[in-house]
Symmetry: C2
Subunit: 181 residues, 2 copies
């Protein structure tokens, strides 16, 4: 069985990567070492820098995952700072910001960064378009899933098995493993 | 006249540092090179990392300034991501988040990072406590100044000359120049 080291402290991301990659006969091994995350408006340079730093530091090939929710009416907020905003503001306050907005469009984006020690990082981007719901619905997934609607159901309502067939993370991981093969 | 290189792209920060340091007979020279900014919950490691990186890269002693507005009722939001939030959400949306909050307390914080090439960075923190206003008032300063109330007036109303005698940035710069001397 092929193995891949995933540098992350996020249990939601880890669980999804494990589920998605188990179907491809790949074992995901978590590494908790962490890496410097940059402040950038886009996710790609954050994932690239983190993957290179971690590969050089750990002296082994690694993948990282930088993800975010980009809300159109809020100019892409919370975007690269989705984890900080989730933790400190939470979904209710994001819904409050969206209270008077009729443009509900949002894009979930996941960027997988991969690097070998001494090498240059490569990145793979997956996106899924949806809408911000008017209230939290469903208990599946994690983070913003209960307020992100895809074809009428939130990612919280879809359930992890369905979510993992079409999510931003799934799409990014598919690209990554096509490239690896 | 003593000189100090200030690595920043923020014109508001630059203008204030020039005004404050002119009174100390120090000339501030802007450098626009930029540096990697980390995602951290506190400003100190961001300023320390940036100052060291820029000093090593530019091969000269430099200062940087990482500042943020920490709103108590919002668990410190926008904090280290104040520039991104100002640019993408703006003051009106921050006021919307605070609409139903009775705890209006907020802290403005500025961290000056200083480093010489090959050396270790030092940081100096200045803070000022105030309240979030219910609407924007005044046109002085920049960024969150019109919604940050200090003893009844917003930083936007105080005017730059008064603001610069008591601001978070002034307090951090005072500490830095006490240490330099």
């Amino acid at each position: 069985m092929r193995k891949i080291i995933f540098v992350t402290g996020n249990r939601g991301k880890l669980r999804e990567a494990k589920d998605i990659l188990a179907a491809k006969d790949i074992e995901v091994i978590q590494n908790n070492h962490g890496y410097p995350e940059l402040q950038e408006d886009e996710l790609e340079p954050i994932a690239a820098y983190g993957a290179k730093w971690a590969a050089d530091e750990l002296k082994m090939p690694v993948m990282v995952d930088d993800s975010g929710l980009f809300i159109h009416a809020l100019n892409g907020f919370p975007g690269p700072y989705s984890a900080f905003v989730e933790e400190n503001l939470g979904n209710q306050r994001v819904l409050k910001l969206m209270e008077d907005e009729t443009d509900r469009r949002a894009t979930f984006k996941s960027v997988i960064g991969y690097c070998e020690p001494g090498g240059e990082p490569v990145v793979f981007t997956g996106t899924v378009d949806g809408n911000i719901a008017y209230e939290e619905r469903g208990s599946g997934g994690f983070g913003y899933d209960p307020i992100f609607e895809y074809e009428g159901q939130t990612f919280g309502e879809l359930g992890d098995a369905v979510k993992n067939t079409l999510s931003h993370r799934r799409r990014a991981l598919d690209k990554f493993f096509d490239w690896l093969d």
